[in-house]
């Protein structure tokens, strides 16, 4: 990746004209077609939803300090956990790594000037804003109390809240995912720079590609499902409600057909970030590159065949249940392969523990626990007891917060200097990473114990003997919240006051580190030519590659075509 032209660019690295200052004014942002600016629009938007979801979580944890319902009423409590789930899943986690970090770095990583369809890219952001606005409107008008899973016939017939409005919000937001998926997939297929063969792609790209596949194939199913639900609710067409001749379990099949793959939308892109960060901060090529790449694809495909593991207690056929359980166990294998390979990458590396790396190592720890506790739930005999208890809540948060949020923050710190052009305060970064890690464990580890004791999910009041564990959990959530506040504060501070970032503060490999900081509007002044594999951190290796590079480009251009 170190050709003469790029070295020239590097030397002009200043803080002259870049994508942030090339145009000014609100219009230049709202009508931008630049993938990097769209990434920043996404970042601002999902931060708003993170704060909404976080506020709801804080109120839930405060209410659960005592066994009685004393802070809010039951009806309000139900709206709070619905708001928490809907905001965090549909409007924060799903767009987090793909739409924020993916938009910022995916085109640059493969040597492209932008995504394949810049206008669709902007449209996908507007879908998120429109969907998010409708969902927010539903909250302002009085809220929704169905839980983020919208189970029928409660959601279709019995709930007296703004279900249809929230459904419309999630429905429109689905198009944001689909458009981003189509865009990324096309970009990766058609816009790789000369020499950027499939097996030279950074693993972040493989992960984004696998995610795009799930987004394109899965999201339409949930869109159809939610549309059917809205039809039943408004026009009383019997689809899910048995009183109208429907089948309530059909909804669960359709919903989980998307929503299980959706948890892979919410974790596979995180795997990509972790591969980049681990490689950079141990200055090593990722151990078993192709195994890590293909395991993402295996997870994406197998993820479509496990939805029934959410339904072991519904009375679905025993044999169907066994198939779903078996495939769920199989999916543990590619997941384990990733963990083992990341750990092996550290071996004989040159490890430096800056904030992105702290988040990445935190990810491995928490995600390992999240993944292993998933096996407790895919084991049919034990799932019967643990289904719909706090064990599921704890498992899900270990994967989604311990996994995806840690990965997102790792990537955000990693690429922050490149795209904002300023360094965040490293000490604050380390402090918030540590607080978040400790606070997270204090919050959610007690919930495993609570769940096995039998504490059901979504309970506003609960028996006295569970109180001690709930108080521990709320205490942990306070530490966790403090960690997030320090994080947001220090990143905001750095936007205005942080020291100017050098071109490549981490000594990282990859095309995004060879261009100006912050990047110019079109990323590359001349077409980059890729002559080596991703993560070529070994100097000896690099020197050998450079000698070859004089003859290599012509041959590699053919490979791309």
């Amino acid at each position: 990746m170190s050709t003469a032209t790029i070295e020239q660019q590097a030397s002009t690295n200043g803080h002259g004209e870049n994508y942030l200052n090339v145009e000014h004014g609100i219009k230049s942002w709202l009508l931008t077609l630049d993938h990097k600016r769209i990434g920043i629009l996404y970042l601002v938007t999902i931060t708003v939803f993170f704060l909404i979801g976080g506020l709801a979580a804080s109120l839930i944890r405060l209410e659960l300090m005592t066994p009685q319902g004393d802070l809010v009423e039951a009806h309000t409590f139900n709206k709070l956990f619905t708001m928490h789930g809907v905001a965090m899943i549909f409007f924060f986690l799903i767009p987090s790594v793909p739409a924020v970090l993916g938009n910022m770095v995916l085109p640059i990583m493969i040597g492209a000037r932008d995504v394949a369809f810049p206008r669709l890219n902007l449209l996908s952001w507007y879908c998120l804003v429109a969907g998010g606005s409708l969902a927010t409107l539903a909250i302002i008008m009085g809220g929704v109390d169905t839980g983020w899973t919208f189970y029928t016939p409660y959601s279709s017939t019995y709930s007296n809240s703004y279900v249809t409005l929230a459904l419309a919000g999630v429905f429109i937001n689905g198009f944001s995912s689909i458009l981003t998926g189509v865009n990324f997939m096309t970009t990766v297929h058609k816009m790789r720079a000369p020499g950027m063969t499939w097996f030279r792609l950074p693993l972040f790209i493989w992960a984004q590609y696998a995610t795009s596949l799930i987004m394109i194939l899965g999201t339409p199913v949930v869109a159809i499902t939610l549309l059917l639900l809205a039809l039943e609710r408004t026009l009383h067409i019997g689809i899910f409600d048995p009183a109208l001749g429907g089948d309530p379990i059909l909804f669960q099949h359709l919903f989980w057909f998307y929503s299980h793959p959706a948890v892979y939308i919410m974790i596979v892109p995180g795997f990509g970030v972790i591969s980049e960060v681990i490689a950079c901060f141990s200055r090593k090529r990722i151990f078993g590159y192709s195994f890590v790449a293909f395991s993402s694809m295996a997870i994406a495909v197998l993820g479509f065949l496990v939805w029934g593991h959410h339904m072991f207690t519904t009375g679905q056929s025993v044999y169907a249940g066994m198939v779903f359980s078996f495939i769920t166990f199989l999916i543990a294998v590619p997941t384990a392969i990733k963990i083992f390979n990341w750990t092996a990458t550290l071996y004989k590396g040159s490890i430096s523990l800056e904030s992105p790396m702290l988040y990445a190592l935190g990810f491995i720890g928490l995600f390992t626990i999240g993944g292993l506790t998933g096996l407790f739930l895919s084991t049919m005999g034990t799932d019967i007891h643990m289904h719909d208890t706090y064990f599921v809540v704890a498992h899900f948060h270990y994967v989604m917060v311990g996994g995806m949020v840690m990965a997102f923050l790792s990537g955000l710190h990693f690429w922050w200097p490149k795209f904002i052009g300023r360094m965040y305060p490293e000490a604050m970064g380390k402090a918030s990473a540590s607080l978040i890690f400790v606070g997270f464990n204090l919050t959610f580890f007690p919930q495993f114990v609570l769940g096995y004791l039998g504490m059901p999910r979504r309970y506003h009041v609960y028996p006295d003997e569970f109180q001690i564990l709930h108080v521990m959990s709320t205490g942990g959530a306070t530490v966790l919240g403090l960690g997030y506040l320090i994080l947001i504060g220090s990143l905001l501070w750095s936007v205005f006051k942080g020291p100017r970032a050098p071109q490549n503060p981490w000594g990282a490999k990859g095309l995004e580190w060879e261009i100006q900081t912050p990047p110019t509007l079109h990323n590359f002044e001349t077409m980059p030519i890729v002559t080596e594999e991703a993560y070529a951190y070994d100097n000896r290796h690099q020197a050998a590659q450079e000698e070859e590079s004089t003859t290599a480009p012509a041959q590699q251009e053919e490979e791309v075509v």
């Binding site: 139900n78 384990a336 040159s350 720890g365 292993l372 084991t379």
Partner: protein, 313 residues
């Protein structure tokens, strides 16, 4: 059930021990695997920490034997745990012959329980110790879930169809009953108590108080009141089929398919009689949808089942 702080739930049914054994096996495996990974990470981070800025570690591409080892070994472990879990699930699914039958109806936000002998209770369930109990569950409105943590059993309670669960209690005492599926505003108050009693106490409890007619008697009364008996006569002279011995029998429908007359079939035939009509009969029965409660339905079905037993004898 103690209201003191506990770290592990009571073990009060025959399932508690096998479920806990599997749970502890999973914990053991998880601690080994995650412990290995955590130790490796800490050791590597200390041992291979960056000592100077211009370090350039040697490239390692990977190792096929290692990749195979850490794919295949976890796969066999996974398949082993899967098999143990599936086997246990099978045992939880199949109730033994001749259990004590109890019927439960969930509605927003209470549990209504009927014993065949006629005893009814709300948010309480009395069962004898050391005997298999089979619950038939129905919902009047949304999806609920019948969950007794101390027994390690749970089954969703659905509107429009019956589900069943079974257990055998092994410890005298009082245990939590929870609704585990979110069912609306007062979901967290849809809770109750399970009382496990000695056989003798249970029998005394069953006949005590103002217990009226048994479920079969109540069903027989409803059968007359609703006018079922006009067409469903005990011989073949009625306009509808005779119901003697029909329960559990495979019958040919007008559509040509063979259907076993189980609880769900009887339920559907009362609420939506035109759906599956017995071969040789006309679809003339009126619907009872919306006219009878889930509890009455269960009484009618219990009565129809009893007609079968009478015929066998």
């Amino acid at each position: 059930m103690s209201s003191e702080f506990q770290l592990h739930p009571d073990l009060a049914s025959t399932f508690a021990l096998p479920v806990d054994a599997l749970y502890f096996l999973l914990i053991f495996l998880s601690v080994i695997i995650s412990g290995g990974i955590f130790i490796a990470i800490v050791v590597f981070c200390v041992k291979y920490r960056r000592r100077s800025e211009d370090e350039s570690p040697k490239e390692i591409h990977g190792s096929l034997p290692l990749e195979l080892a850490w794919s295949i070994i976890p796969m066999f472990m996974a398949i082993g745990v899967f098999a143990l879990g599936a086997d246990l699930y099978f045992r939880m699914y199949r109730s033994p012959a001749d259990p004590i039958e109890i019927y439960a109806v969930g509605k927003q936000w209470m549990w209504k329980i009927q014993h065949p002998e006629g005893k009814r209770e709300i948010n309480e369930l009395h069962v004898p110790i050391n005997q298999a109990v089979r619950l038939t569950l129905a919902s009047e409105d949304v999806i609920h879930s019948f969950f007794i943590p101390a027994f390690r059993v749970k089954r969703d309670v659905l509107p429009g169809r019956y589900t069943t669960m079974w257990f055998e209690a092994t410890q005298i005492g009082e245990f939590h009953l929870f609704c585990a599926e979110y069912c609306g505003t007062q979901h967290s108050t849809m809770i109750g108590k399970v009382f496990v009693m000695e056989e003798e106490d249970y029998q005394n409890w069953l006949v005590g108080g103002v217990s009226g007619e048994s479920m079969i008697e109540a069903g027989a009364r409803q059968f007359k009141q609703l006018g079922c008996a006009t067409c469903h006569k005990s011989d073949t002279s009625g306009r509808g089929p005779s119901l003697e011995g029909i329960f559990g029998r495979a019958e040919k429908m007008t559509s040509g398919e063979d259907i076993v007359a189980d609880e769900d079939y009887l339920r559907e035939s009362i609420l939506n009689p035109q759906a599956k009509v017995l071969n040789g009969f006309k679809p003339i029965m009126p619907t009872f949808q919306g006219q009878i409660s889930e509890e009455t339905l269960l009484q009618l079905i219990t009565y129809i089942k009893s007609l079968g037993e009478a015929a066998e004898e």
